[in-house]
């Protein structure tokens, strides 16, 4: 699979098809928790398969429909009825880094920051090394949320932990509290182009990042609202990341979909630092019967030089 970006995943939520169903009686295809695009009022006449004329609102004729932006209260509450979970298959990872690069690109991060870090792990002296990509664990009992003094980081009903960069005071207590080293801090201005930096900050897209505030993986709730997968999941060429909803008991990497409970049972899934009691939402499948030898990932390892603006 040489392409970084594929479009073969025609997510049939949203887009023309939802509208087609909205105006005819084939039954609702969108689940009730997904947001509907706002009708523009402008209609266009299209043909059905049988050649009949059907009227459809223009707002639905977009591959990615313009969904109404959730308010800050809605962003803090989260998507009802969902409980997001991620499964990372360590048997498939060879440190390609596409996950990390696509995440950095999609969230317009400072060049020094990686929200996804791919670790070279070796549990004991005589055990084998393996690659471990780590995101935010979106813990059920998040230590970072416990210590935030101003409610700038919060846990939603769908399990996602987000950061409100308009409220964060930059005390960095959450960074001290997180045992997974997943949070980064904007020590200087991230250097975004004007049109991105001047956008209104959305907790769900975590864009634009702001100087003096904390950032971390957000499980891409803006993508989930559209029924799409997070950027890392889509970008990985080896299908390492699986994402889904525990309430549907299903996770997918875009190409393969599994029952979450079966996947964890059959491949002995586990969580990081279980004994700390944080109850992460990210499960790992152990590096058994690996697709690639560990050494094949070493060629991608290079020391990172800081790209700060020196004053």
């Amino acid at each position: 699979m040489e392409d970084n970006i594929t479009s073969s995943r025609d997510f049939i939520t949203g887009g023309l098809t939802g509208a087609a169903c909205g105006s005819c009686s084939c039954g609702k295809n969108q689940s009730s928790s997904e947001v509907e695009p706002k009708p523009s009022g402008e209609k266009v006449k299209l043909l059905s398969v049988n050649g009949e004329v059907i009227e459809i609102d223009k707002a639905f004729l977009k591959p990615v429909p313009d969904l109404p932006k959730p308010s800050n209260e809605e962003e803090r509450r989260g998507i009802e009825g969902k409980k997001f979970v991620m499964v990372i298959d360590l048997a498939r990872c060879k440190n390609v880094g596409a996950c990390r690069d696509s995440c950095n690109h999609a969230h317009h991060l400072h060049p020094d920051h990686n929200w996804i870090k791919i670790y070279q792990m070796q549990d004991a002296e005589d055990t084998a090394p393996y690659w471990q990509p780590s995101t935010c664990m979106h813990c059920e009992e998040p230590p970072c949320v416990k210590v935030c003094p101003v409610d700038a980081t919060f846990k939603r009903q769908d399990g996602i932990v987000l950061i409100d960069s308009d409220r964060c005071i930059g005390c960095r207590f959450c960074m001290a509290a997180c045992p997974y080293s997943t949070r980064v801090f904007n020590w200087e201005d991230p250097g975004l182009p004007e049109e991105i930096a001047s956008q209104h900050y959305s907790c769900e897209s975590s864009v634009p990042q702001k100087k003096g505030t904390v950032g971390k993986c957000d499980f891409c709730p803006d993508m989930a609202r559209k029924g799409e997968l997070p950027h890392c999941v889509s970008a990985c060429p080896n299908g390492v990341f699986f994402f889904g909803d525990m309430n549907e008991d299903s996770v997918t990497n875009g190409a393969e979909t599994f029952r979450f409970s079966e996947l964890i049972r059959d491949k002995a899934g586990y969580r990081l630092m279980e004994d700390l009691g944080t109850k992460p939402s990210v499960y790992y499948l152990p590096p058994v019967n690996r697709n690639f030898p560990f050494e094949s990932g070493l060629e991608n390892v290079k020391p990172q030089e800081s790209q700060e603006n020196h004053h």
Binding site: I5, S7, G27, L46, L47, L61, G81, D249, T257
Partner: protein, 293 residues
């Protein structure tokens, strides 16, 4: 992972005014034909550029599409501009109703115009109209689904064999296969029968599941999806502890013991402090009163 079918009819641009900085690029255009639930067919257009670094979406590229008669104004399906992700969707306009009903198969010609970041590219696809039906099988002890593919030939619909399709339960971001196999192929009657083996799959509040049959990028008939709702899931029991009081809850939902302890201490100490302020004021008053006597 399934690869996207891209036809490369792009021109390599070289040796322009500032050729030194010009990276080698291939401009790519893809057109796919989709029908969902046998209702409204549409074309999905994608524009991408392949650079040394990789494949990137090309946004704001104008694309014009014609049906059957290339570059003819009467055969214009639509003129669209791809969005920032390089995608656009266009349906068959009512104006082409007569052209549509004449044949069972059509050819679509797409032309992407050039821009500073994109070279002119053309593409064409030929599609035969088809229908994908999905039904449950009545009777029997097991739960089964049957998918049928029918191709349009003149006035009638003819079963189409050897079409690869998959049948899955709609989940977030993908489809969970209902049967043992990932894909099935239609037999001579154009049918595929699959047993629904997923036990106790969480459904919606009534225990219903949405099952979808998908034909992915078939060379002859394009992409078809058809979905039905079946009552073969279990009722969704989701107990969330979101509203409960805890140490990680919002400030209004702090644990009771913490709230009582904290406010208890604060009230106790600050009452004493306020009392002391009154004492200082009293000393002041005593001093002032003495002065006046």
């Amino acid at each position: 992972m399934p690869c996207v079918l891209f036809c490369l009819i792009g021109h390599l641009t070289k040796a322009q005014a500032d050729s030194a900085s010009q990276p080698k690029r291939k401009s790519l255009l893809s057109v796919q034909f989709h029908i969902k639930n046998n209702q409204v067919p549409y074309l999905k257009v994608e524009t991408k550029v392949k650079l040394d670094k990789g494949l990137f979406a090309a946004g704001s590229i104008p694309v014009s599409i014609y049906m059957d008669d290339d570059l003819s104004k009467d055969a214009l399906v639509g003129q669209v501009k791809t969005d920032p992700a390089g995608e656009a969707i266009v349906g068959i306009p009512a104006s082409l109703a007569s052209n549509w009903k004449v044949k069972s198969s059509h050819t679509f010609f797409a032309h992407a115009d050039s821009s500073s970041t994109f070279d002119p590219v053309s593409q064409e696809i030929a599609v035969a109209l088809a229908r994908l039906k999905l039904d449950t099988v009545a009777g029997g002890t097991t739960r089964s689904l049957v998918a049928t593919v029918l191709k349009s030939e003149g006035e009638s619909w003819v079963p189409m064999k050897e079409v690869e399709l998959r049948i899955g339960v709609k989940r977030l971001g993908g489809y969970l296969t209902v049967g043992e196999e990932d894909t099935y192929t239609t037999d001579s009657t154009g049918k595929v029968e699959v047993e629904f083996v997923r036990e106790n799959l969480p459904g919606d509040k009534q225990g219903k599941l949405e099952v979808v049959a998908l034909v992915d990028h078939n060379e002859e008939i394009g992409s078809l999806t058809t979905g039905i709702v079946v009552p073969w899931g279990v009722v969704h029991q989701y107990k969330s502890d979101f509203g409960e009081r805890s140490l990680w809850a919002p400030p209004s939902r702090a644990p009771i013991w913490l709230t009582l302890m904290a406010y208890g201490c604060i009230i106790a100490v600050w009452s004493m402090i306020i009392y002391l302020f009154t004492r200082i004021l009293k000393i002041r008053r005593l001093g002032k009163a003495k002065k006046s006597t």
